[in-house]
């Protein structure tokens, strides 16, 4: 029997109202006991965690792992490592790969790759429509049976209301949510950022705020009509928040997520044509940002997701119009949210942990995201209280399109465990590693091998784009105050 005793950690588990110093015993990958004091015995590995927060492993309902099809940007291997680095132990991945994950084979591919090379639990989200064309529905029942966790057309909203109606109507009997990126493509047109004074100043084409909220309103109306479960992806505007709040009040089965960049940054982050602030939905105004923070606090928005969307450096190092939409966020999500909201006193640590664990589990109706006795020992150890600059060395992703590079954060993920096994160990916090970790001596090495295939054609230019990124994030930081 494998036994690991975590000593004197500050255990934060909102699912059981736990917030205090405990010893935690893990046996054969499961939580065996949480008590004020557990006496170590000779058959236990001990892990002193004094001063560290111990929380259930985070759950991310919205990531893009890019495999198959865009392996220069991310793979299931590098994406799960990015998850581990950020404290996530369960991640849902979107189906907009190439080929699209719209078949049993596609779902099986993701699951088998994750089993072979992934280090955290991966749940594939299968497509709502074949080929993401927005026309004909995929085999929901069959795909669910093969291991799909939800349905979504990824970054493409379903424009045809009839198709959306049928998707919600049909999935009701399967008890599975439809994840929807809400966007009216006609209104968005060829816009590249939030439409407002900043887009006018920069001469960039705007995406009007109603592009999202009109579709949110339509989708909650269809959910109300059908009784299906609609999950609104990465909410970005005040009006969308209002529509969701109203729908929840009326008993519609709607849930919603928000990502760290929309909680922290505004459209001013784009100034300087910073392509690492180019996302869909776009970063909006300060009043939107505040509405999102409040909506998360009052439960209108259920949980936080990263919307991790890797794009290779060469794709993002471009003129703004031509750079792809999307930013990565698994590694930075907890550090920036903790720094911005917990360290500054607006949120308790319990609240933030809940929005990353129990809340997303509740959205998916899964028994995950907690450390109750008997649960799989997926957990994260967190160091807080000292300032660090969040930099490229904090990323495990193959891409570095993170809008928070260069930002000061006051926390680091010390270690991440899946089923009692360490999948990330911060070398500066645990210089001697953690027993049982296959990665004790290798994290740097593994990372290098993943980074190597990146085209190093123009070293001088790569260095420049790094400095560009950091000025961009500095700007973002200023606006967030």
């Amino acid at each position: 029997m494998q036994r690991l005793l975590v000593l004197d950690a500050l255990v934060v588990d909102p699912s059981q109202g736990l917030s205090g110093r405990y010893d935690v015993l893990v046996e054969d990958g499961r939580v065996a006991a949480i008590e004020r004091k557990i006496k170590p015995t000779s058959d236990m590995e001990t892990l002193p965690a004094k001063g560290l927060i111990m929380a259930p492993g985070f759950i991310d309902l919205h990531t893009h792992l890019r495999e198959p099809g865009s392996e220069t940007a991310e793979t299931i291997e590098s994406g799960t490592r990015a998850a581990a680095r950020g404290g996530f132990t369960t991640i849902y991945c979107m189906p907009n790969t190439n080929p699209v994950c719209d078949s049993a084979t596609g779902v099986q591919y993701v699951l088998s790759r994750a089993a072979a090379v992934g280090c955290v639990r991966v749940v594939p989200i299968a497509a709502i429509t074949r080929g993401l064309e927005g026309k004909s529905l995929t085999n929901f029942g069959l795909l669910l049976d093969r291991g799909a966790g939800a349905f979504s057309d990824g970054a493409l909203g379903i424009m045809n209301a009839e198709v959306m109606r049928r998707a919600l109507e049909y999935t009701r009997m399967l008890n599975v949510p439809v994840f929807e990126h809400c966007e009216d493509l006609d209104l968005s047109g060829d816009g590249v950022m939030h439409e407002g004074p900043v887009s006018v100043r920069l001469g960039l084409k705007g995406i009007p705020r109603t592009s999202e909220s009109i579709m949110v309103s339509r989708n909650v109306a269809l959910a109300a009509m059908t009784g299906g479960h609609i999950h609104i992806c990465h909410v970005s505007t005040r009006e969308s928040v209002e529509a969701i709040r109203e729908a929840k009040r009326n008993g519609v089965h709607v849930t919603a997520e928000v990502d760290p960049h929309h909680l922290i940054l505004t459209d001013e982050a784009v100034i300087g044509y910073n392509t690492n602030a180019k996302v869909k939905p776009p970063l909006c105004g300060e009043e939107d940002r505040l509405a999102l923070v409040q909506a998360l606090e009052d439960g209108t928005i259920d949980c936080v997701t990263s919307s991790h969307a890797p794009h290779s450096n060469s794709a993002k190092d471009n003129v703004f119009d031509h750079a792809p939409f999307g930013v990565i966020g698994m590694e930075s999500a907890f550090p920036v949210l903790y720094t911005e909201f917990v360290a500054k006193g607006r949120w308790s640590i319990d609240f933030l942990v809940e929005k990353l664990t129990a809340s997303p589990a509740r959205v998916m109706n899964k028994p995950w995201g907690h450390l109750q006795v008997g649960a799989q020992a997926d957990f994260v150890l967190i160091e807080t209280g000292t300032d660090h600059t969040f930099g490229r060395e904090d990323l495990a992703s193959r891409s570095s399109n993170c809008p928070f590079l260069g930002r000061t954060v006051s926390t680091r993920i010390a270690a991440t465990f899946v089923a009692g096994n360490p999948v990330h160990v911060h070398p500066a916090i645990f210089p001697n590693g953690i027993a049982g970790s296959p990665q004790v001596a290798t994290p740097a090495k593994v990372r290098k091998s993943a980074v190597k295939p990146k085209p190093a054609k123009k070293p001088a230019r790569a260095a420049k784009s790094a400095s560009k990124t950091s000025t961009g994030t500095k700007k973002g930081k200023r606006t967030s105050k």
């Binding site: 004074p197 006018v200 920069l202 001469g203 960039l204 003129v319 703004f320 119009d321 031509h322 420049k464």
Partner: protein, 321 residues
């Protein structure tokens, strides 16, 4: 003009008006006065850029702007290379950066860039040693146009401060409008934008301008009537119903000129859609300064090269010591 004179202008590139100080703008306008003097001499050439190479890289056709830059560079004794994008590999999908890398490898000191993407010169300026001059980027800025406009206004009406300029037309899609708004508001000029809400959205207000949707009201007490070219393609995008309707609501003719101040001047960046935004008879009136704008364009662009060259030489001196 002696190169030893003190140069305060502090930019390697001219990317836009927005990041210039009022002092830098005045410095450019004052230098342009001297170059306009050069242009009236028998020998219209000075040696400022002797041995330097200027590359005109135009991704959108613009004979006027390109010719104006070319003439300005030649009169400063530079070598000029026109990179014909239509026949080059750019059409085959070569990305902007690679093209410019090639141009720089050929030894360009100045890259004059016209490109359909907002922010493209800013993107380039971060990675090349040559000085980048923005000759129009997407909907964003066209700084030399705004400078030559200010120069022309000053030549006709004197000190800019306190004047009232009305910009009329498709403001939303106009880089000329944006650069003019930045420049004029910096110099204390009152700016009114005139056009339908689809082309003049309220989001312009934070830039410090007045917005007016009716021509008559907008032209009241105006010193300068600045017309923008209406793009024929915009009719298909429902931003306005038809050219006919546009002419009826916003077209300038001799009758409507009277709605502005009696000595108001009329300007247009060209090329003009005769009979749409402006009638033929207004074009021939002495108040119309459209050809004068073209002449002044050369002097202003010479001034831009001159001041950038000063900065380049200063930077080179610093690098040597």
């Amino acid at each position: 003009m002696k190169t030893e004179e003190k140069i305060n202008f502090g930019h390697k590139d001219l990317l836009g008006i927005e990041n210039l100080t009022p002092g830098e703008i005045m410095q450019l306008l004052d230098a342009a006065v001297a170059f306009k003097g050069v242009l009236t001499r028998d020998v219209k050439k000075v040696p400022t850029l002797r041995g330097r190479t200027v590359v005109n890289l135009f991704y959108e056709n613009s004979t006027r702007t390109r010719t104006s830059f070319e003439l300005a560079a030649r009169r400063l004794s530079a070598e000029v290379l026109n990179f014909d994008v239509a026949t080059s590999s750019v059409k085959k999908g070569e990305v902007l950066y690679d093209t410019v890398e090639t141009i720089e490898a050929l030894g360009a000191d100045y890259i004059v860039l016209r490109n359909g993407n907002s922010g493209s010169p800013h993107f380039l300026a971060r990675s090349v040693k040559a000085s980048v001059i923005n000759a129009g980027d997407g909907l964003h800025e066209h700084p030399t146009q705004a400078l030559l406009d200010a120069f022309t206004i000053r030549e006709s009406l004197g000190d800019l401060k306190g004047l009232h300029v009305a910009l009329i037309g498709d403001i939303l899609h106009s880089r000329v409008a944006r650069s003019n708004i930045f420049l004029l508001t910096k110099l204390g000029v009152k700016v009114t934008l005139i056009g339908p809400p689809t082309l003049v959205p309220d989001d312009f207000r934070p830039l410090g301008v007045r917005i007016c949707h009716t021509l008559r009201e907008g032209l009241r007490d105006v010193d300068v009537i600045y017309l923008l070219r209406i793009q024929m393609e915009r009719q298909q995008t429902n931003l306005f119903p038809s050219l006919e309707e546009y002419r009826t609501l916003y077209g300038i003719n001799t009758e409507r000129l009277k709605w502005a101040k009696p000595d108001a001047i009329v300007m247009h960046p060209g090329p003009v859609n005769l009979g749409v935004e402006i009638s033929r008879d207004v074009m021939t009136m002495p108040q119309a300064k459209i050809l004068q704008q073209v002449t002044n364009g050369v002097a202003v662009r010479m001034a831009v090269f001159y001041l950038l060259q000063g900065v380049r030489e200063q930077n080179a001196k610093i690098a040597r010591t």
